[in-house]
Amino acid sequence: MNRADLNRTGEHAGTESRRADFPLLVANPGLHYLDSAATSQKPKIVLDALRGFYESANANPHRGAYSLSVRATECYHQARVRIAQFLGVRDSDCLIFTRGTTEGLNLVAGSWGFANITNEDEIVVTALDHHANFVPWQVLAMRKGAKFRVCELTPDGRIDLDFLSGLLNARTKIVAFNHVSNALGTINPIDEIVRLVREKTDAILVCDGAQSAPHFPVSFDSLGIDFYAFSGHKMLGPMGIGGLIGTRAMLEEMPPYQTGGDMIELVHDDRTTWNVLPHKFEAGTPNAANAVGLAAAVDYLESIGMDEVIAHERSLMALAQERLAAIDGLRIYGPPPAQRSGVVSFTLADVHPHDLATILDGEGVCIRAGHHCAQPLMRRLDVPATARASFYVYNDESDIDALITGIIKAREIFTYAEA
């Protein structure tokens, strides 16, 4: 989805509350959960799916000749097909289940990167990246003696495309970037990045999709990138499940990431051959139950419609933006709302974000305060930390009311020591 589409759908945001579908929110009526960019809450159908798997299908997939194991295998396979379909992947064997985005990115760095990068090569990341899409490439570059280059940002926190263009050359072998910034909510212009990189290099394109897959329609097959990693727990699914999507050509050529059971074809004393995709990259007993849970989360998201998900978030974000901007001493970071997902990152005068988060907690408001696992970005913004509120399907205007009330209270607490 590009920005023009987002703007078109921004008008008809649904305001009906979906809190009733989320047991934790039902059990805590005073809770205002505004930290979905860290992890989302889980709807009942996801919890039911987990329980359902363990109660009716639990066995080790791909192992047993008995029918229960066949059932477990089938559940796991169907989950993969369902999630691949949701993310626009026609060839579902190209979706590798991982623990989450971090493991997916490390898989590419450890497998493709380790096999292909030399000391003549260059790796490009951006200053907007999460540590999970920064450190694996930095470590790879150091191990291989390759050059590690960081793309600078515009003052309002977007990837500086001119700077990026200047970094790219025939030695560039990997370009890693995030689809949406977790710290600022910036939606990066993926089409333009792909065009630039393809024009000037033979590099592989690795996209951190942790903050895009949960929030708007993503179709991997039409993105024109080589790899896309995502996390289930940020999209209403369980913790500990996510995936890496790659093109078949790339995945076929890559060596395994981890070795062990399930990923082999034949093991001899002196050599081993590998299983086919996706199993080649899934050593050990798979996380079948969580895959089934994530498939249920995908069903839930599709029942709302991803266009509606982003429209809902953006209408809340726009309202929050307006009300926050009216608070004296409050500074909002990142590009204008039209170029962001449902994230607002801000600071309040000289109140440290941790102090703000503690005071907001007293109002039942959960926000993230800190560096958002994006220290290179914080350094460029010249702040040690920001406060971040992020919106999702279960949030409504009452959450913004509570946020504003808490911020005003923080101002009051901190005001009497001014002077």
Binding site: T358, D361, Q375
Partner: protein, 153 residues
């Protein structure tokens, strides 16, 4: 749902003395010739502190800190440096122990004198997520004392 922060607890946390030390930290800066110098940060939140200590025999003769952080971590560092000046190693060990007890929820006795203004931080114990902020400067102090001991050894 753990949500212990009532208004009273927030007021106990953000006492005027803490906000005063946050806005006007004492002993902020660097020493010219420290006997021990430590940099420490909290990787979870990015707070940073540098602590420099000068000794005169067994006593801390001067101490300064630098860095950035929240009100709790800076106030703790500021009040800690105030209290440490002129204290002997034995006195410091006792203060460190008492302060850690305070952070773990041990109520200070009414006639508690040892911790002085640091008692203002007793409200932190009710906020487990913030105890690490209050202890950052103290962890730096322990490293500085250990570094001094190694140098002497």
């Amino acid at each position: 749902m753990p949500r212990p922060e009532t208004s009273a607890e927030l007021s106990a946390l953000y006492q005027e003395m803490i906000l005063d030390h946050y806005r006007r930290p004492r002993n902020k800066g660097t020493l010219e010739n420290p006997d021990a110098s430590v940099e420490m940060n909290n990787p979870l939140c990015g707070d940073e502190i540098g602590l420099q200590v000068a000794f005169d025999g067994d006593q801390i003769s001067d101490v300064k800190f630098s860095g950035r952080g929240c009100s709790i971590s800076l106030a703790s560092a500021s009040m800690m440096t105030q209290l440490l000046k002129g204290k002997t190693r034995v006195e410091i060990d006792s203060i460190r122990k008492r302060f850690r007890e305070l952070m773990l929820g041990g109520e200070p006795p009414a006639d508690e004198q040892e911790l002085g203004s640091l008692r203002a931080l007793s409200g932190v114990a009710r906020f487990p997520a913030r105890v690490k902020c209050a202890l950052l400067a103290w962890n730096a102090l322990e490293s500085a004392l250990a570094a001094k001991a190694v140098n002497e050894g």
